[in-house]
Amino acid sequence: ETRPSSSSFPGRVVSNYGSCGGARAGGADFVREAPRAEEREQVRCPGGAEVLQTNNGPSLRGLTTIATHLVKQAKKEQLLGSTAEEKAIVQQWLEYRVTQIAGHSNEEDIRIILKDLNLYLEDKVYLARNNLTLADILMYYGLHHIIAELTVQEKEKYLNVSRWFNHIQHYPGIRQHLSNIVFMKNRLYTNPH
């Protein structure tokens, strides 16, 4: 029998920060900071999956679905991308966020994620090129506990990820209660590997 476990639901990724807090740290709270419609919405996470109970519609499930909904409610649509291409890119990285960066990734998975992101970000400021989007925000929340564990040498090795991460964490309103991660300004290791 299939037992699709609740653990494969995206919210788990950040649930290291407390049961339901995970969902908040995962992005919902960020958009709540922004001005929003006068509705009382609740984010619950029964069995590990976030559910957003809206006032005038069915409940919504899933980290990126809820975050996207809240972004629209907050009238911050630019966070979802402005062109079709940008929207698709945002969608893609949101999916990557919930499928690849799972809470229980092993070391090898993490290494590949960082390596791939590092290569991707080589010529980009943000995931969707030149604009901050929801993809950056949720990716930041998803990677925080991983980046926090990196050694100075590893941070240097994934230089582009470090630059991007440092940039995002200093964006106003993003970091919330998460710790500030320190990145060295000077390179300590001459040999890139």
């Binding site: 029998e1 299939t2 037992r3 699709p4 476990s5 494969s8 639901f9 995206p10 519609g57 919504l60 499930r61 899933g62 980290l63 990126t64 679905t65 996207t68 909904h69 079709a84 291409e85 929207k87 698709a88 890119i89 969608q91 893609q92 949101l94 999916e95 990557y96 919930v98 499928t99 590949i112 390596k115 791939d116 290569l119 991707y120 080589e122």
Partner: protein, 903 residues
């Protein structure tokens, strides 16, 4: 629909949901997405330089281009697809394509996700996932599901909303063309290469122990009002609605207009006492199916017999000082006796050493010869001049040409593991007389398989499309053909076989694998002179071959090629049913180590044949290997049979006797009762569907589910309390009792293929008329109010721990050590019965020493080339000692294993 433009962009889209699974949109080796370590396809490369590697994002992009913005619902579906559905479908495909599992197990991996989709569609009551119109969600989910489902027919009936949605999607032009351009002609097989490279998905739902593939709990399926009403209506029709039982005249022959089912079980080799694995692999599995077919009123013939020709029989005859024919007579009787004990319902159990075999085999041979399907070639073989015969591989020992190990076998070296060609052995020795054999060339005939390959493939394609071939049988066949067919030798330098009717080859016989499958035909010919109506009648006959997986190539490639080449409108196999292996406890059955339970010993355990049948069928290695375990046998007997099935049937009958004077009371069905009827009907249909696909083990669970429903029903309604209450309560007690006893009657019919003895006992106790032994898709009230039942007694006995521990020790092989000391080249004892006594350790020790001493003595006599008479006398003494030892150990004196495996 704004859909068409994006979808016409082509095949890349089909990978959608199946993201990384897209097999050939890009060369598999290349890194399609420059920044990703793992190759991901499909990918969409845009002019701006952007590479989209997520199929869902690509799809979303096309919809955006077409002016369709995503909304909460489509987002939610896409996220759910990526996080839930996709992993489940990957598991299902992996399990189907790489692990070769079938239907139920594959569907099992995605059942919950399918139910989720179905419920969403049902609750929203919209034709599409996100509303009245098709959206990106429909495309994405359809594409993910398509490789596993292909068409809606494999979806369970109860998922109606999903079925109709999937069907609509399948028929839509863009989806159709995407499917055609990407997946056909290889179908989901296209994903195989990709999946094979993946580590096995973590199958949370699959327990490592093969014996418990499913949760033993009653999943409350949602029933529609129509289903409930239909079940109640069918029930009310009563026994009059039963079709008349078809009882074919003897001999059974195909009847125009009827479903004519011809069932064969792989022919057991005569000088092996079959072990439980052999029994479940062929004769018992085929028996269940044959009995089921008869219950369905299908015109059924089940034939089997012993395969008797070949080297092993010759050797055995030499050892026992009998003629090969005498050996065959002796062991054929043993087989017959074992299968009779297991209650196997052959229409005819024959043998291959008959004149019909010679006639038919030679006829087929002449036809092949006349059609130029045979080749001649020279083969080098070792020949022992002293024994006057060519030596089969396993009758030669010598020094390994690779590692110089001195006791290498003719086919393989046990030390370095390398495969050896017997003529390359250094210092070869005949295993029987220890003389050095010489290399002799000999002319042989070969079946020209390469010439027949094309015809074979054409036939296979058709047979696979229409028949039920188990996944392993398809897989094994495919790998044989993939490696290319080579001419195959069909003659041997032996005496004991069907003579080759051709000058220059008259001192040879047919190789057993050319000869043995022809046994099916000749055995039928010994049953009826009109055998050709079964075997040259593919238009009217459906042929089912049952076997263990090691026999597959002979039934799927070699024998069909023989028959195709002979061109006489032969009936070829339509359904090839191969089991995996049954292991014993944690290892293999081993005759030589005395490990495991063999056919002739099962009856000495005191456990009835039907319990053996039940347990073997319960763990039938269907789809994967399983293991016999004594503890598990005890558990299943005590929980499934005693507490579940037996308890239910017994209670139902007892209530009728105690509260209603042995007559079935009147019934007034309420909503709950009708709901129960519908649940039972669903299980019955499931049972039929599974057995039609020869999923014997899974179908057995439907019976157990029904009795679980029954127990629950009695427990909830408490007829034993209500009977003491007021009128309404008493009526209710009557209804519950009447419905329960009718469920018991239905169980007695459904159980018949599995436990014929228990089935008959239930029917005797409840006085179920013989006419009720017909199975349809409806649950009828077979025992109407007023029906008089007989005396009800318990059906099963509890198995106790001590009893099981004693049996485990007895068959565990640990105590055979002492006996093995002497198991050299002496004449073995026959498979005698002998009382089973508890072992006295002191006595065992003394006897073991005596046996060892006597064995040494015999060896010395032989080494010093003493007179035959003297040796024989000492051997007889040794045998007697060994027998005593065996008895003292509390085990049945056993046959020694023929060394090596035949077939």
């Amino acid at each position: 629909m704004p859909l068409n433009p994006p979808l016409s962009l082509g095949p890349g889209l089909l990978g959608l949901g199946s993201s990384a699974l897209m097999p050939h949109a890009f060369p598999s080796a290349g890194h399609v997405v420059p920044f990703l370590t793992h190759p991901r396809v499909p990918a969409l490369h845009l002019d701006s330089g952007t590479v989209l590697f997520s199929p869902n994002a690509i799809c979303q992009y096309f919809f955006l281009l077409a002016g369709e913005e995503p909304n909460d619902l489509t987002n939610q579906w896409l996220e759910w697809e990526a996080t839930e559905l996709q992993p489940a479908v990957s598991r299902a495909l992996y399990c189907h394509l790489v692990q070769g599992k079938k239907g139920g197990e594959v569907l099992g991996a995605i059942r919950k996700t399918l139910t989720y989709i179905d419920q969403s569609l049902t609750s929203k009551a919209t034709p599409y996932l996100a509303g009245e119109a098709e959206s990106v969600a429909d495309i994405v989910l359809w594409a993910t599901l398509f490789p596993v489902l292909r068409d809606e027919s494999c979806l369970p009936d109860e998922l109606q909303a999903l079925r109709s949605w999937f069907q609509t999607m399948n028929l839509s032009e863009p989806c159709r063309s995407a499917a055609v351009s990407v997946l056909t002609p290889k179908g989901a097989q296209a994903f195989k290469v990709y999946l094979q490279k993946q580590p096995g998905p973590i199958l949370h739902w699959e327990k490592p122990a093969a014996n418990e593939p499913e949760e033993e709990e009653l999943a409350e399926r949602s029933l529609s009002e129509e289903e409930i009403a239909a079940a109640a209506e069918a029930w009310a029709r009563g026994p009059a609605a039963l079709p008349e039982r078809w009882q074919p005249p003897s001999p059974v022959l195909p009847v125009e207009g009827r479903r004519n089912v011809l069932i064969t079980s792989a022919l057991p080799y005569v000088n092996n006492v079959p072990h439980l694995g052999n029994i479940i692999g062929c004769v018992l599995s085929a028996d269940v199916f044959a009995r089921y077919c008869r219950l369905r009123n299908w015109n059924t013939l089940y034939v089997c017999g012993t395969d008797e020709y070949g080297t092993a029989t010759e050797t055995k005859a030499l050892e026992e000082g009998l003629t090969p024919q005498q050996i065959c007579d002796k062991y054929n009787a043993i087989h017959v006796q074992i299968y009779r004990w297991f209650d196997i319902s052959f229409d005819y159990f024959g043998r291959t050493t008959t004149t019909q075999q010679t006639t038919i085999a030679q006829d087929i041979f002449q036809r092949l010869l006349a059609r130029n399907m045979l080749l001649t070639d020279t083969v080098d073989q070792l020949r022992c001049e002293r024994c006057q015969r060519f030596l089969a591989d396993r009758f030669v020992e010598g020094t390994c040409p690779f590692c110089n190990y001195e006791e290498a076998r003719g086919d393989q070296c046990d030390k370095c593991g390398k495969l050896i060609n017997a003529v390359e052995l250094k210092k070869p020795q005949c295993k029987v007389c220890k003389d050095s054999p010489v290399v002799k060339s000999s002319q042989h005939l070969f079946l020209d398989l390469p010439q027949l390959e094309e015809r074979l493939e054409k036939w296979l394609e058709q047979s696979w499309a229409t028949g039920n071939w188990t996944a392993n049988s398809r897989f094994i066949t495919r790998s044989w053909i993939r490696d290319g067919l080579k001419p195959r030798c069909i003659t041997r330098d032996l005496k004991w076989g069907t003579p080759v009717p051709l000058d220059g080859f008259r001192d040879k016989v047919f190789y057993v694998w050319f000869d043995a499958p022809i046994g099916y035909l000749s055995i039928t010919a010994n049953y009826t002179d009109q055998w050709e109506r079964w075997w040259k009648n593919p238009q009217q006959v459906q042929l089912y071959n049952f076997m263990a997986k090691d026999n597959v190539p002979f039934h799927s490639v070699i024998f069909p090629c023989t028959l195709l080449g002979a061109e006489d409108n032969y009936t070829l196999v339509n359904h090839l049913v191969a089991t995996e292996y049954l292991n014993y406890e944690d290892g293999k059955f081993s005759k030589s180590r005395g490990v495991g339970v063999f056919g002739d010993m099962a009856q000495d355990t005191g456990i009835p044949a039907d319990i053996w049948r039940f347990y073997l069928l319960f763990l039938r290695p269907e789809g994967q290997d399983s293991a016999f375990s004594w503890t598990d046998l005890m558990l299943k007997n005590n929980s499934e049979l005693l507490n579940n099935l037996g308890n239910f049937v017994n209670r139902a009958g007892m209530f009728v006797c105690k509260f209603f004077g042995g007559r079935v009371p009147p019934m007034e069905l309420g909503a709950d009762d009708k709901r129960l009827l519908a649940h039972v009907t669903l299980e019955l249909r499931q049972y039929n569907q599974l057995l039609e696909k020869i999923r014997i083990r899974d179908a057995l669970r439907c019976i157990l589910s029904i009795s679980r429903y029954g127990n629950q029903y009695i427990q909830v309604n408490e007829p034993w309390k209500r009977i003491k209450g007021h009128d309404a309560d008493r009526t209710r007690a009557g209804t519950v009792t009447g419905v329960a006893v009718n469920i018991a009657a239905l169980i007695s019919v459904m159980l018949q293929p599995y436990m014929p003895g228990i089935s008959a006992t239930i029917q005797r106790q409840l006085c179920v008329p013989q006419a009720c032994n017909v199975l349809t898709d409806t649950f009828l009230c077979l025992l109407p109010p007023g029906h008089q039942i007989g005396t009800v007694t318990p059906l099963f006995q509890k198995l106790e721990n001590e009893q099981i521990e004693a049996l485990r020790k007895q068959f565990g092989g640990g105590q055979v050590q002492a006996a093995r000391v002497a198991s050299a080249d002496v004449t073995p004892p026959g498979p005698g019965g002998g009382a089973v006594l508890a072992g006295d350790p002191q006595k065992v020790k003394e006897l073991a020493e005596e046996v060892a001493k006597q064995a040494d003595h015999v060896r010395q006599l032989k080494a010093s080339k003493a007179e035959k008479g003297q040796i024989d006398g000492e051997v007889a003494k040794l045998l007697e000692l060994k027998k005593q030892l065996a008895l003292a150990e509390g085990k049945t004196p056993e046959l020694p294993a023929p060394k090596g495996k035949r077939k």
